[in-house]
Structure formats: C-alpha cells, structure tokens
C-alpha cells in the first residue's frame, strides 16, 4: 500500500511540472483510433515535429464516421493556433463528395503532405491469373468479386474506376477493414483487391497493375494502368498535415518549416523505412493544389460509378 502511495505522489509531481510547461500546448488530432496505420505514422511524426516547433504536443484520437469526425473537429477550430490534424486521403478528398459534412476541401490551411504509397491491383497467389488481360478474359464468363476496406474508401474507388474504364466485370463487397478483406481473399470469397505495397507484401499477393503514372521501384515488371490501355488512374494512400483556417501566416509558416524538417529527419525516415511508408513531401501550396486535384478526380470517379450524384 505504501509503495502505491509513493508512486501516486511521484505521478502527481510529474503531472504538476508537466502542467507548468503545458501553456503552449499543441493538439494533433488523428481521426482514427490509437494503434491504427495512420495513428502510428502520426505518433512517429509527432515528437520531432513538436521539437522543431518548440512546443509540447499531444496526439488526440477522435475516431468515427470514416475519419470525418476528427477532420471536422479541425475544420471547426477556426483560428485556433494550437490544433492541427494528421489526415488520411479519404477524409479530405472522398468523403466531402459522398455526404453532407461540416467541411470541404476549402476549410483548411494546408501544411504539408508527409507520406504516399501507390496502390496495386492484386489477386491471390493461389489463383492462376497472372495478367490483367487474363483477369478481364476470365471475368466474362463469371463476374469476379472485389473487396475493399469499406464503402467509399480508396480501395473501393480504385476498383470502381477500373471497372468503369475497362471491360473487367467485377462487383464490390465491402469489409470492415483491410484485414477482414484479406481473410476473405484467402478463403476465395473475393478474388481481387486494390491496396498498398504493405498489404501486398504481408499477405503474399500477386500484383497485376499499379495505379500510378510510372512503374514503381522494386516492382519493375508490374505495368501501370495506363500501359494496360486504361485512362491514367492515379490512386495512392497518402497522409498529410492540415491546420484550421484563420491562423496567422506566421504560424502557418512555422508549421510548414517544422513539417519539412521532420520529414527530412533521420528518425522519421528510418521509421518510414521500417513501416514501409513512402516519404513523399509536398509543401503548403503544392499540397493544396494536390488535394484540390484529387478531390475533383475522385468526385468524377464517384459520379461515373454511380456512387454519388
């Protein structure tokens, strides 16, 4: 009992000293639960970033509704210089076209893009399909089923765009995440999935095409979708930092500089290497233009596939 009391006292002491320096406190909103793929990158990003800014920062997980709740929280904090969001692609460029949200692509001050991984179209290694052409041929007799990590997610959009723009016959079965979808692929409930290199490597799948404008290093024999005769489809899983609107230019510049330095730091790069996250820095203006472009492109895909008006 005594030891417990001592440790409680120590805890309280640590707490007080902490509160004393916490006056300049930065909140980093992660719109997913702790421990998820985005959260992990954010938590590795956070220490160096706050060190660069010279503030104490806390990661706050605000999960729910395809990451839009946390994103909305950032958008609603207009003018607050102590909050930023570590955002995934879907919440910024897909969800606003799908449903009525309290934010749109114009509701943020864009800071930087940190990582980006191109997506692959892949099938199980147990299947005898080795090329996209063969996949299209075989789908004529019996349409295939493709999985996704949920309706309106990037894997869903990438495949929906492929089906619309090619002769491939395939229908969508959504799962509650990449993991369950992989289980279904292993059990041959679905046959096709679009996802990143991490998934491809972890589950030992066969890539048939890559959704990028050039072939990807390490996968030199995997053609891009454009080479296969489809329009140039660009789908990548990326993450970036946004701040609310209405913060001072000075603060925005500080964020941007800190972000650049963090992404270039050895610590973050060695982490990215381990977690197979492809570093792909974009500065404030480029990032803003990029989000706008992706937003328009995804909107078109959603319209073509009949998923949004």
């Amino acid at each position: 009992m005594k030891s417990l009391r001592y440790s409680l006292a120590t805890l309280a002491l640590i707490g007080t000293t902490h509160a004393a320096v916490a006056a300049d406190n930065l909140e980093i909103i992660v719109p997913f639960a702790a421990g998820g793929a985005t959260d992990i990158v954010a938590r590795s990003f956070e220490p160096t970033f706050s060190q660069q800014l010279g503030v104490t920062s806390v990661v706050r997980n605000v999960a729910g509704a395809s990451a839009t709740v946390g994103t909305a929280e950032v958008a609603n904090s207009e003018g607050n210089p102590n909050i930023i969001g570590y955002e995934p692609a879907g919440a910024l460029t897909i969800q606003p076209s799908l449903k009525k949200l309290p934010y749109g692509p114009d509701s943020f001050t864009y800071i930087c893009r940190t990582v980006s991984n191109p997506m692959f179209l892949m099938v199980s290694k147990a299947s005898d399909i080795t090329s996209f052409k063969q996949l299209v041929e075989e789908s004529r007799d019996q349409p295939f089923l493709y999985g996704s990590s949920g309706p309106g997610t990037l894997p869903h959009l990438a495949m929906a765009a492929t089906v619309v723009n090619s002769d491939l016959k395939a229908e969508h079965i959504p799962y509650s995440g990449s993991g369950p979808a992989m289980n279904a692929l292993a059990g041959n409930e679905i046959q096709i999935m679009a996802d990143t290199e991490t998934i491809l490597e972890n589950y030992d799948l066969r890539p048939l095409a890559v959704f990028a404008d050039h072939r990807v290093e390490g996968y030199d024999d995997v053609p891009t979708v454009e080479e296969l005769g489809l329009p140039a489809l660009d789908f990548a899983v990326w993450q970036g930092v946004v701040a609310p609107k209405g913060i001072s230019d000075e603060r925005a510049r500080q964020y941007a500089e800190a972000c650049k330095a963090t992404v270039e730091s050895d610590k973050f790069q060695s982490f990215a290497d381990k977690a197979k996250a492809g570093i792909a820095y974009l500065g404030p203006d480029d990032f803003k233009a990029f989000v706008q472009k992706r937003f328009e492109a995804n909107k078109q895909v959603l319209k073509d596939a009949g998923l949004a008006p």
Binding site: N61, A65, T68, K99, G150, I173, S176, G179, N183, E201
Partner: protein, 517 residues
C-alpha cells in the same frame, strides 16, 4: 527447439518481466473500473512503448490486454456492473453469488477460469496456430452469419421468465448498432439529418450507461437500506476436487473462446455470450444457471480470456487483426519493425515464440496479482457508498468520452443510463441489449455480404458449405429443443396449477416442485 529456448531466454529478461507485472496489474485495475476497458488501457500505455524494445513493449501491452479482460469480472461480480463489455456475461451468475454471500467463491472461479482459458489458448496457439488459421479462412461471410445467428439465440436463454422483454431489448441493442453509416452502401441511417449522429453509437458508452450509470441510479433509490452495502471482496481458489468436477466446463469455455478468437472480426464479448449459451444447453447444472452457478462464471471468463491468446492467431499467422485490441497490438509491432503477415512465422520465429512465452507468463502473473488487485478493490469499496458512486460516475464519464474522443458519447451514456434504469424497474433484462449491440453489426454485415455473394439467393446459404450447413442444422436443433422444452415446462405448470387448485398440498412438497422447475 533451439528457437524455443532462445525465446524463453528473451522473455525472462528483467525488463520484460517488469513490464509484464506493471502491465498486468494496471490492466486488471483499468479493466475493473467501470467505463475504462482494454482500449483505454492500451491507449494509455501505447505512447510509453515507443522508447522500449520489441519484447518489452509487447509484454507491457499484452499484460494490459489480458489483465483488463480479467479485471472486468471483478466489478461484474461485486457490484453488478461489468468493468468491460467482455465481462457482461459474468454478471449473470457472478452477482447472484455475491448476493448469496459467496463472493470469495465467485471471484475464485472467475480468476481460475480466466487463468485456465488464457493458458489453454496459449498452448493451442503454440501447437496449432497455422492449422487454426487455415480453418478460420474457411469462415466466409455466410459461415460467420450462421455462427452469429447461433450466438444470437442466447438471448432466448438469458431472458428466462421474460422472453418477450428480452427480445425487445435485444432488438433495441441491435438497432443502436445500426445508427450511422451503413456498412455496405455507406449511406447514413437513422441520423435524422444531424451530422453528430453519423458516426453512430459506440458500444462502450452504451454499456457504461446501461450498467454503470443505471446501477448508480438503482443504488440511489435504495441508498438508506442495509442491503446496498457492497460486500467485502475476498478470494478463495477452488480446490482440485472442485476443479475436477467442473473440468469439462472449463475446457468447453476455453475451446469456444480459442476458436471464436481465431475468427477475424468477432472478439471476446461475443465469445463469452456464445460460451454461456453453450453452457445453458450442455452444463449438467444448467437448471441453476442465472441463479448463482459457478458454471456460468466459468463459461464466461474462461472463454473471454481464451480469446486473448487466440486473437493472436490471425494476427500473427495471417496479419489479420481479430478485434480492435489486436489491431492496436499490430500497430505497436509495426512501430518496432515487425510486420505481421504470412511470412512472420518463417522470418522471425524467435520473436513470435517469445510472444507466446510472454503470453503464458502474463497469465501466471494474472493469477498471482489477482489477490493484491482484489485487495485494492476491497479497500476502495470500503469507502462510504457516496465516494464509490461518485467515483463510478467519474470513471464512466472518462471512459465514455475517451473511447473515441467524442463528447457526444457522454450524452449517449447519460441517456442510456436513464433508459436502462426505467427498463430495469419495469423488469426488462439488460444483457440482451448488449448482446444485440455486440453481435448485431456482425450479423447484419455478414448477411448483406452473403446476399451480395450469392446474388440475392438466401436459400443457397443453407447449402453454401459443409460448415454452414452444420451450423444451420445446429440452429434448427436449438430452436426445436427450446420449443419442446418450453412446451414441456408449460404443461408441467398447467398440471401443477390444476393440482394446486383441486387439492390443498403440503407447502414443503410445493417447494420441491419449484426446485425441479
């Protein structure tokens, strides 16, 4: 063999052992506090693991996870409030035992069953992870649908005496889980145009309201009565003879838990309900279930702790997290450069075996730490009732608001608390509400996915695969069994009332009749 020895060496470092002790103890306490559960516990400890090596950080997290699943049973038994949703099924028999003054026995069985389930699932994990993982792959959407239907039937069993009310509550819980985005089309349902509702209702705030807050309200109405004082928490482990007598129950619970845990997307709460439903049909003492029978505690606690081990099977063998908690663990592994997936066993066998050893040590640590943890709760519950209730309200609030970081969840918890109080006063059982909410999403999405796969043909579900057919036959048998049993019971009741009306019987004989019933 060398790999296993090296793994044992890795697990028995002082850092890892310290992490296990701290993690397990903190886990038991966090699990025991109503409102705080596995997810909050892991969120607290996740940032600490960044500076540690792989084994130490995994030891800490596994300790917190296993400890919290066990800890939930302590408050379930003591104050009728499961500390975590995973222990919701422990309340059925745990609290009646407390009311009968058998706290020590109830806590003893809960502790031992948790330990037994945890260790058995570790053993299974070591020897047949690849086989189990391969078998789990055969569970597609249609098979999962059949399994969840079977589990849903336990609503019938636990709402004895008020089946209709149990079904209303079950459907209410099912409905709660449907608010928000549709899992298949993504369309908003029952949000009535408000953005705040589009993220849906989370399980934790509803459980916090239904059990913790409503318990505060119920105890408030009776705050001046002697009966509301919380009995002193004591622990008495069952003797070897008693364990031998109930060994079958322990084994059944552990195997059900191990198996359900190996299926992706189910989790410990579902396993506990399925196991409890099985005990209701198969336990030799099933007539007493729900009235303070240790078999009920065994069914619930051995299975939910067996999930902690076997949930790692899909995670480690296939890289597919079994539930939210294992998803967080997977994240922690990625930070340290271990990527779970099909090649993990081949590439990093030593790390994997070390994790198995750590799991076993954690379960042993849980057994040892149960006594001081229960001691702490005894100390806390000795405080005047007001402080205990104030603390429960605060922990409920913290747990509800921190699970997703959404203040709306607090309002959900408060409203559920008031609703649950009204329902309890009118004789509605609340457990079906939790069952509906836990199993509802799995039932709905597997049904809808199954319909997409079979192109709208529901009848083909029955012949989809051998596993599916077997499960549907089991459901049929269960229904027939329940209906026939109900009819027999009803006839016995009719005959008895007729006899009572025609002749005055000695009171003692009537008592015996009731016992049979």
């Amino acid at each position: 063999m060398d790999v296993i020895l090296a793994a044992v060496g890795d697990a028995f470092t002082w850092q890892a052992l310290l992490a296990i002790v701290i993690g397990t103890w903190a886990g038991i306490i966090i699990g025991g506090l109503p409102g705080l559960g596995s997810v909050v516990g892991l969120t607290i400890f996740l940032p600490f693991t960044f500076g540690m090596d792989v084994i130490t950080s995994m030891a800490l997290l596994i300790g917190v996870y296993c400890g919290s699943v066990y800890g939930g049973s302590i408050t379930a038994i003591l104050i009728n409030t499961p500390g975590t949703p995973q222990s919701a099924a422990t309340v059925f028999d745990g609290y009646p035992m407390t009311q009968q003054g058998r706290v020590d026995e109830a806590l003893g069985w809960a502790t031992f069953a948790s330990f037994f389930g945890g260790v058995l699932s570790c053993v299974l994990l070591i020897f047949c992870a690849p086989q189990l993982a391969k078998f789990a792959v055969n569970f597609g959407s249609i098979e999962v649908f059949a399994l969840v239907c079977l589990a849903m039937l336990c609503i019938v069993g636990i709402s004895r005496g008020s089946l209709l009310k149990g079904l209303v509550c079950g459907m209410m819980g099912f409905f709660f889980s449907m608010v928000g985005s549709d899992p298949i089309t993504g369309a908003d349902r029952f949000t009535f145009g408000t953005y705040a509702l589009s993220s849906g209702l989370d399980l934790i705030p509803v459980v916090v309201g239904a059990f913790a807050l409503s318990e505060v309200f119920v105890r408030f109405s009776a705050r001046d009565e002697e009966a509301t004082t919380i009995p002193e928490a004591r622990l008495r482990f069952p003797s070897l003879r008693e364990i031998g007598r109930r060994l079958v129950e322990l084994l059944r619970g552990s195997f059900i838990g191990s198996f359900v845990g190996a299926l992706p997307g189910t989790g410990a709460a579902a396993a506990a309900f399925i196991s409890y439903a099985a005990a209701q049909k198969l336990s030799p003492r099933r007539a007493n279930l729900g009235k303070g029978e240790p078999d009920g505690i065994i069914a619930s606690e051995s299975s939910n702790n067996a999930v902690t081990g076997s949930a790692f099977i899909p995670t480690l063998a296939l890289g597919i997290p079994g539930d939210v908690v294992t998803a967080m663990m997977m994240g922690a592994m990625v930070i340290h450069g271990i990527t779970p997936g099909v090649r993990l066993m081949a590439d990093q066998a030593q790390t994997v075996y070390t994790l198995f050893v750590v799991l076993i040590i954690v379960n042993v640590a849980m057994l040892i730490l149960s006594k001081p943890s229960i001691g702490l709760f005894r100390y806390l519950f000795k405080l005047p009732l007001g402080f205990v209730m104030g603390g429960i309200v605060m922990f409920s609030f913290i747990g509800a608001v921190s699970v997703r970081g959404n203040p709306l969840d607090l309002v959900v918890a408060a409203l559920t608390g008031i609703l649950a109080y009204v329902l309890r006063r009118s004789g509605y059982p609340l457990a079906p509400l939790v069952i509906g909410m836990v199993l509802g999403p799995a039932l709905e999405s597997s049904l809808r996915r199954g319909l997409l796969i079979s192109r709208g043909d529901f009848l083909s579900f029955f012949t989809h695969s051998g596993i599916a057919t077997t499960l549907f036959v089991l459901i049929g048998l269960f229904l027939i069994w329940t209906i026939v049993g109900g009819v027999i019971e009803w006839r016995a009741k009719v005959i008895r009332t007729r006899r009572e009306a025609s002749s005055a019987q000695p009171a003692s004989e009537q008592g015996i009749m009731h016992d049979h019933h």
